[in-house]
Symmetry: C2
Subunit: 209 residues, 2 copies
């Protein structure tokens, strides 16, 4: 139910079409927020029915018309209210952890395969973060050159902080996840994937809390 707010947030930057928003999601918040194309168009329609956004039709010569949505003052108020509202408890559902919970049925080979597949996925994700960082820096350098005055530069740099915060989260949690997977893999190879060894490791972490 936060898709509404994700869209409203994007529209505070500038007016976008549904298609733009879908691309924006895929390129900037994909690692913590994904959105289906159909859901975006339907949510835009809902938001417009509530007068939180409005659209104007923009005709194009070769492409289909775009519906360019912009946020209304009521929409801004709605977004700001959500931003400071207490976060609802997040429902986590991680199929991989579910599989590992039943490790005793998985067998050594199965476990090995699952861990390797997951390690590849994390490595790919971390590599992607590196790419995103590169493109942010590239864009930033261009913008800092291009922007007309100090105020515009300030605004741009402030708008950059949020994306950088979430990217840091992705990198740090990704690294922690990768290290955890590597630890499991190593334990399995050394034959120390036993209850006693795991309990000892857990104590090393928990006692330090």
């Amino acid at each position: 139910m936060s898709l509404r707010y994700a869209i409203l947030g994007f529209l505070t930057h500038q007016p976008y079409s549904g298609y733009d928003i879908k691309r924006g999601f895929d390129s900037s918040v994909r690692h913590f927020w994904s959105a289906d194309q159909a859901a975006i168009y339907r949510t835009l329609a809902d938001l417009e029915a509530e007068q939180l956004v409005e659209h104007e039709r923009v005709a194009q010569q070769t492409r289909p018309d775009r519906k360019l949505y912009h946020i209304t003052p009521a929409g801004v108020a709605e977004l700001d209210a959500w931003l400071v509202s207490p976060a609802a408890a997040v429902v986590r559902r991680e199929p991989l952890l579910l599989k590992l919970f039943f490790t005793h049925r998985l067998g050594a080979q199965g476990l090995s395969a699952v861990l390797d597949a997951e390690l590849s996925a994390v490595d790919a994700e971390l590599a992607e973060f590196k790419t995103i960082l590169g493109s942010i820096e590239h864009d930033r350098a261009a913008m800092l050159q291009q922007l007309p005055n100090a105020d515009a530069v300030d605004g741009y740099r402030q708008a950059l902080v949020g994306p950088l915060i979430t990217l840091t989260n992705g990198v740090r949690l990704g690294v922690a996840y990768r290290d955890w997977l590597r630890g499991l893999k190593q334990a399995q190879e050394q034959g120390t994937l036993t209850d006693t060894a795991m309990l000892a490791e857990l104590h090393r972490y928990c006692d330090a809390l």
Copy 2:
């Protein structure tokens, strides 16, 4: 769609009622898998229609009858096939990161409040993990005394590895998440929550990959 397998996995230990399964979820896998009560009963009915589980009615004197479900060989086969199947890409949706993505609209006070609320939540979660660890060790000590033979002990200890693995994941990722939040809070207090500082920090992490 993995609720099916979560239930099948539980039923490999011993027969359970829907009510038992709900309690089992809430007490052991809540931090990475939550399930609605209605969903559990409906899924059990679906699984039975597919002959992956069967039930027998157990009459009770004071309480309502229980429907005690047990897994069938076909159910075991289905579970084992899922365990080794490649994991579907996980869809992440984290409202907190979405809020932080729009930090520029949140303001210093709003950000501070959001970070504090989240830090409390993580601390509570980590404390809960500590409690879970304690109760696992308590149960384990009792079981190791009580179990009749070495085979039973072995089986029990092997079944413990999965839960311990997922608990380790919770603790390590929880600690990483808490450290990230603390870093943000500190940066905000020191006035270093800027694009340049964040970029520098990101490089420290990314360049080491």
